[in-house]
Amino acid sequence: MKPIDLKNQIRARKRYDALFGVLGLLALMIGVLTFCALFADMAIKGMGRVDWDFFTSFPSRHPGQAGILSAWVGSTLVMLVTAFFAVPLGVAAGVYLEEYARKNWVTDLIEINITNLAGVPSIVYGLLALGLFVYQFGFGQSILSAGLTLALLILPVVIVATREAIRSIPQAIREGSYALGATQWQTVRYHILPYSSAGILTGIIIGMARAIGETAPIITIGALTFIAFLPPAPVSAQPPFLSFEWLVSPFTVMPIQMFNWTSRPEAAFQVNAAAAGFVLVIMTLAMNGLAIWLRYRLRRNIKW
């Protein structure tokens, strides 16, 4: 090839390189723009509505007086139940799979199940909960059912995060522990769990962020969309001082409240929906952001 032809041909090919660079950035920009538009939309329409009254009022037929009190209290209580079940089960399962499980068909079966469950639509979890928790076990349309459902939903997230965190611990540490005569459980308790706790925590936060925003499964088990009361308080001044009545009480959660308001045609309710959405987005952004930051710090600080 003549030298000048060579140079021209190279220049032509490199032009495509540059074009693709632009294309890639454009594609990213679409994501950025959507996110900004979404956030701005929520903020502009809803931020003005978010004030102390908004957080402390019940929903009402009058949009100006409606608030998210029952919704965020419900969300908090449901999250408590979710964490109560998902964290121990998920971490225990993760520890088992990484430290104790042998390579046999049972382990394979468990692993296949976990991968599969991660891809099941959330509404199917709702159907499971409806049939199993609400009807079969008779927990009813309650916070307990919701918490259990969401726990099952985020279980794969917690398990995978636990496993990855444990996997990054070098074998040398385990061997050091065993060489000193520790049992497997002691090694897990005093070494494995503490060292992987940051990674596990990251996974838990991501799972909870996901659970807070879930609507479909909770609607399916029958959370009502208009709740103008709070579940009974867990502690009271009279004996017995602790009560579990709140577990079986009807309830609502933040995403459902937003759904309810979005479905109303009146413009004023849509403002409320935007406000609720704004609060939701801030919450999930904060949680996801925290998890990302934790992971970043982890990667920089851990030097085995």
């Binding site: 090839m1 030298p3 060579l6 140079k7 041909q9 190279i10 090919r13 490199k14």
Partner: protein, 264 residues
């Protein structure tokens, strides 16, 4: 060099001249003032202990270091006959790589068919004529002594071939674009002795047509295969000479120490 050497090299033209080459990884100087000729249609071997910079030196020839940030060249590598300085910032690395081919330590065929692997270089420079591509592919596979074994399965995946066959495929791939200089980076260190022998024989046949520069950590291979040898240590060129002379009667004590295995 001795008198017979000088006579021999007087009749040879250099394909490339390295002049005062320095190379920096960031602030660290990995190559220090290297100067040597690469004679046309001869096999030149680069030997030296691990970490002496021979692969680093080799990769300067096709600007492969440009792929990674923070690297810097100083000095020149002048390619003849047009006297282009390959290391110049004005010379596009792609242009350099279109004139100079490379075979790597571990065979790295693409996830494509045998035919498409060899045709890759041609397609990438815009060759569209099916007939021309088929001709060149067949010729390259013949030059790489592979055509007999793959003639009936040209469209099978390259991964089906054995290690030695894959390496010869990589050689064919490099040959298909008629390179002016062919770089070999420890081409047989991942292969068994039989495959190694076939590659060495191939190199011997190829030098009739293309200049070859080969890095090897195996001194015996250098002695078997090359016409000229350069001994490197800690980023510097210690000695350069006719292979037979260098191995029998090295001029420098350092070279002698390495060759006789006093260190490695």
């Amino acid at each position: 060099m001795s008198a017979p050497d000088m006579q021999m090299t007087a009749t040879l033209a250099p394909k490339a001249d390295v002049k005062g080459l320095d190379f920096y990884y960031g602030d660290y100087r990995a190559l220090n003032s290297i100067s040597m000729p690469v004679y046309e249609r001869q096999v030149t071997a680069l030997i030296g202990p691990s970490g002496c910079g021979k692969s680093t030196f080799l990769r300067c020839f096709n600007r492969l270091h440009d792929l990674y940030p923070g690297n810097r060249y100083a000095g020149e590598i002048v390619l003849h006959p047009d006297n282009t300085n390959l290391l110049s910032a004005e010379v596009d690395p792609i242009e350099v790589r279109m004139r100079i081919g490379m075979v790597f330590q571990k065979p790295n065929p693409f996830p494509k068919s045998i035919f498409e692997n060899v045709a890759y270089g041609l397609r990438v420079r815009g060759e569209t004529s099916r007939r021309r591509i088929e001709e060149k592919v067949e010729q390259a596979l013949a030059d790489a002594a592979l055509i007999g074994e793959v003639r009936n399965r040209m469209h099978e995946p390259a991964y089906n071939l054995s290690g030695g066959q894959q390496q010869r495929l990589c050689i064919a791939r490099a040959l298909a674009t008629d390179p002016e200089l062919l770089l070999f980076d420890e081409p047989t260190s991942a292969l068994d002795p039989i495959a190694t022998a076939s590659i060495e024989e191939l190199i011997h046949d190829l030098k009739e047509r293309v200049t070859i520069l080969i890095v090897t950590h195996n001194m015996q291979q250098a002695a078997r295969v090359s016409d000229f040898t350069a001994y490197m240590y800690l980023g510097e060129m210690i000695e350069f000479g006719v292979t037979d002379e260098l191995f029998i009667k090295p001029a420098k004590k350092q070279t002698e120490d390495y060759i006789t295995g006093r260190f490695g």
